[in-house]
Symmetry: C2
DNA sequence: GCTATGATATTGTCCGACAATCCGACAGGC
DNA sequence: GCCTGTCGGATTGTCGGACAATATCATAGC
């Protein structure tokens, strides 16, 4: 019958107030935030309270600091910040390898198509560079995986669609560990990937969205085949593939 | 020649330590966190420091509290928490209406297909319920928009893929405001949506992934047409469509 | 014009305190 | 037996003040 009446602690309200001003673009990217003491004065709360609010915004990626710097600046959430948070969420929701694969399957062809339609020359160059780096690897498993991810990433950038860019990051992050296993265990993996890269690159160069999209679909489908050949059960939880490199970019 | 050596403040390390234990499942969902005083004792830092760390985890959705409760519990990031953060990120990256639309175009058919393949009876019922609610609306713009979103959401759930569920939320959140305008201004919008709902429902009921996917593609394509008819420029930044309802679920 | 220097401002962290209120136990009334 | 009122203790939210380390900035020196 009644709505629960809500009470918001001061640190929450302070953080919302700042967030709102950032979203309203009254505080713009790159602008330094007032000092903690000054904020405390303006909001008429204690500095400790302000600090708690800042921590929230910091971990949302709305505030950040220059390397080695002390003051906080307004920033927009970086790919890494967004990807970090999202991939943790996936993990805690017990997403499995197949779930991530399915999402890639769904998203990547669209990205490739969009990239083919709208790519600038510079983005094309970045895509080609990633493909070339991958093709040049001998051994170097980790680096090769990085190149594959960079290839996807470059396509995302080339699409000019920030939504794609941001969605890409967490998916790739989760793909990597299992991809490393595939590259290790499946002999023909590298050549299949190279082939797909070549085809996608030339489709994107020719601005042929359909071809780019189709080759990408094939490329991603190959991963699934890779999981089977490499003996990675599709129902493995991604958490289990992620033992390494859990630095956490909160 | 040398990497910049990194210094991490105590609140960061504390928050990472707790996060790591959550990811390692040593702290499991629903479990209450020790009290602030106790954490301060264990980490050998001040309670203020602990509190800053907790705020970070709280805003990442890894910690939360029972309604009206005081203590913090380990939680996994809710749809809302993830969606909130992500949609803010999209907004600050100046995503445009067309970008969100393109992402939907890319993702939703896959979701619908997966839902058709794997839906349980209960999920089907939820999908049907959302469609029925929408069809029953007369006027009630906001509620109708909510129903459309609920329809997408129910499909996401039905897919059984947590990645889809989590990706869906922010996209829908951003879709809503502009969809409201479409429903207002485009007379045939409701009937088109109803038609699509019916077709998708019956495809999902029949477990026909191809049909579900294709009708979904058509459904989303309709939105684009809707933008044009409603006179919403595709290059509008989504931020500008979001004046209302910016509660922010940090 | 660039660099070294030094004063100042700012952050990170600590300590201690207190009010509000949530929690659990306990007693009493229907 | 179940609901309500009461109460003490535990816990959080917030405050004030303090201090060391260091980033920042203006200034003096080359």
């Amino acid at each position: 019958m009644f709505e629960p009446l809500s009470y918001a602690p001061a640190y929450w309200r302070v953080s919302e107030a700042i967030r709102a001003r950032i979203l309203r673009r009254e505080l713009v990217e790159g602008q330094p935030l007032p000092t903690e003491t000054e904020l405390a004065r303006q909001f008429e709360v204690n500095r400790s309270t302000v600090r708690e609010a800042l921590r929230k915004l910091e971990s949302n990626g709305l505030l950040g600091r220059r390397r080695g710097g002390k003051r906080l600046y307004v920033t927009r959430p970086t790919r890494e910040a967004v990807g970090g948070g999202l991939s943790v969420a996936f993990e805690l929701h017990r997403a499995r390898v197949v779930d991530v694969w399915e999402a890639l399957q769904s998203v990547q062809p669209g990205i490739a198509g969009a990239a083919a339609l709208r790519r600038a020359d510079a983005s094309l160059a970045a895509i080609e560079a990633a493909a070339r780096r991958f093709a040049g690897r001998r051994g170097e498993r980790e680096e090769a995986v990085g190149d594959v991810a960079a290839f996807f990433d470059a396509l995302g950038e080339a699409s000019g669609n920030p939504v794609f860019v941001l969605l890409n990051e967490p998916l790739l992050r989760l793909l990597k560990p299992s991809l490393a296993v595939i590259i290790d265990r499946v002999p023909q993996a590298r050549s299949r990937i190279e082939l797909a890269h070549r085809q996608i690159v030339s489709a994107v160069r020719a601005r042929d969205a359909t071809a780019a999209s189709e080759w990408m679909a094939r490329h991603v489908r190959d991963f699934r085949r890779g999981y089977e050949v490499a003996g990675i059960p599709l129902s493995t939880e991604i958490g289990e593939t992620l033992d390494t490199a859990r630095a956490g970019v909160s």
